[in-house]
Amino acid sequence: MLRRTLAIALKELLQLRRDPRTAFTLLAMPVLLLFIYGYALSFDVQHIRLAVVDEDGSRAARDVTDAFLRSGYFDLVGYGHDARALDPMFASGAAQAAVVVPPRYGDDLAARRHTQLQFVLDGSDSQTATTILAYARQIVASLSPVARTGGGEGAVVGLPLVWYNPDLASARFLVPGLLAFIMMVTAVIATALAIVREKERGTMESLRATPLVAIELLAGKTLPYLLVSFVAASTSLALANLLFQVPVRGSLLWLALVMLLFLAVSLGWGIFISTLAETQQVAFQLGLLSSMLPTLLLSGFIFPISSMPPALQVITHIVPARYFLVALREIVLKGAGPEVWWNQALGLVAYGTVVLGLATVRTVRSL
């Protein structure tokens, strides 16, 4: 049994070595994707184009501009004294945000009279606008004398303390999801193609005539890809650590275990697809569609599951990356042990059992 499985696995590795395109796709693609997406996919808003309209001209008014620029998020693209100049700037997109300092702002502030700053914002990209508004609120709060004196008259100022991801860099949140996404897509497609290729070339018929049974065939076919995908995933994670400062706080052993569990599910899914497709082209499309979209949209990779409508939340339970992502973030970002994510691992085990079982049954039937 073991020997026949090994014969297949060895043959598969040999073929992989002869097929640089597939080997590249499996090994280098994850790294490449991580690189591209890692830099492109970011919710951090920086270099916000800011215009300042100073209708006051006091020293306090200049402090406002300074405070915005010192925060590091804003670039000054215009400075003037007339608010009418803002219209063309917003229309052309030259400015994303503007602060209008009203006349007598400096006097009012000095006399401790109530005063207001006007903040103008391009709301056409709501997500970016929300982020900018939050930055602006923080900056303006720091300008208020109440805040500056550290709460003299009983005012309470919140001092935020963010754990695990202190500067709220979105890379730390996104990269684990990206990893799940890449692993799922490559593992599913590689396995599905490897099996369907035998059908397409006609060698499957000869394999059927050998004493090889379905389990041996499937094990021999998937083990090499499990190995290769695991290496690719580990490389990607190491790279994420270097490039995006994604920490790996938890135990590497637990990390490897959870990754292997997730890969087993992905490979099972790939085998299942191979029983549905007769040609490599169909297998590729089925594999891509069934692994990419759900992982992208429904795993919590980008959109948090907790903010989805209840019906959609239920559906996310059939997306394997969902379980993996929670466990992965717990291990990587928080250094959590199995007592925290055991239920996610269990979810993967259950999922894998069902998928691999189903795939095996279908393969036996088709053999």
Partner: protein
Amino acid sequence: MSASAPVVVASELSRAFGAFVAVDRVSFAVPPGEIFGFLGSNGAGKTTTIRMLCGLLAPTGGSATVLGLDVGRQAAEIKRRIGYMSQRFSLYSDLTVEENLRFWGGAYGLFGGEIAARIEWAIATAGIEAQRRTLVRELPGGFRQRLALVAALLHRPPIVFLDEPTGGVDPEARRRFWDLIDELAAGGTTAFVTTHYMDEAERCHRVALMHAGRLLALDSVPALKRIFPAGSVVEVACRRPAAAMAAIERMAGVEEVALFGERLRVVLARPSAAGGLGELVREVGGEGAELTAVDPSLEDVFIHVIARAEGRAA
């Protein structure tokens, strides 16, 4: 099982796909060491029969045994003990000759010194020593076919099933392939071969003629040819073969007439009709026409048997 007991026995073996009957109550027995030919056109049911015998397809009627094992119930045991070369290309073109042999040996559970020895045997038997490290995709068709055959024999099966093994290779490569089969049969390996080439069928010890799922005749090639009484097949050489052919076709007692180059080949229902044929040919075909009695070909037999079966059915 004694040494001379049949290796393959089929009795009333049938396979239907829905309403379509691909193999219809076929019975035969193959003794050890025989080269057994299964001759028929495409769709005659040859591949379906061979797939049932190899345990790849369950029969829907009748039964068959291979090496004493039932094809329906003991398929796994059969697969361990037979060799099979499928109609479709059964080698990995992106692996070398040696790598292919190592893989197929491994798939049959061979290992260690055993597999190394069998690979050497296979390479020597197929005559591809110089190509052992060549990728299969770079091998000529004839080499690939011989390689596929020896790959199916690595685990020393007493019987090998070959499904249209020489499709698409040149006559010289086909001849070498069949020399190899003769050699193996002489060594005691039974070969069960399907083909639609008449010249290949001529090289079989016995030939089964299959048509539309039914087995129409089964015998040695000389015995099959004795269906025709001596003198039934006549070759005609004359000046105007086309005109002669048209006239002969209308003549009573002529079963078939065909043009081969400049000569006409005429199959007569009775040898006694040859006299009338001579007169007709001299009259229509021009002066100096010659008639020669020739041996019937396997194709003559095949056509005759099918016509007779269909006549009976109609």
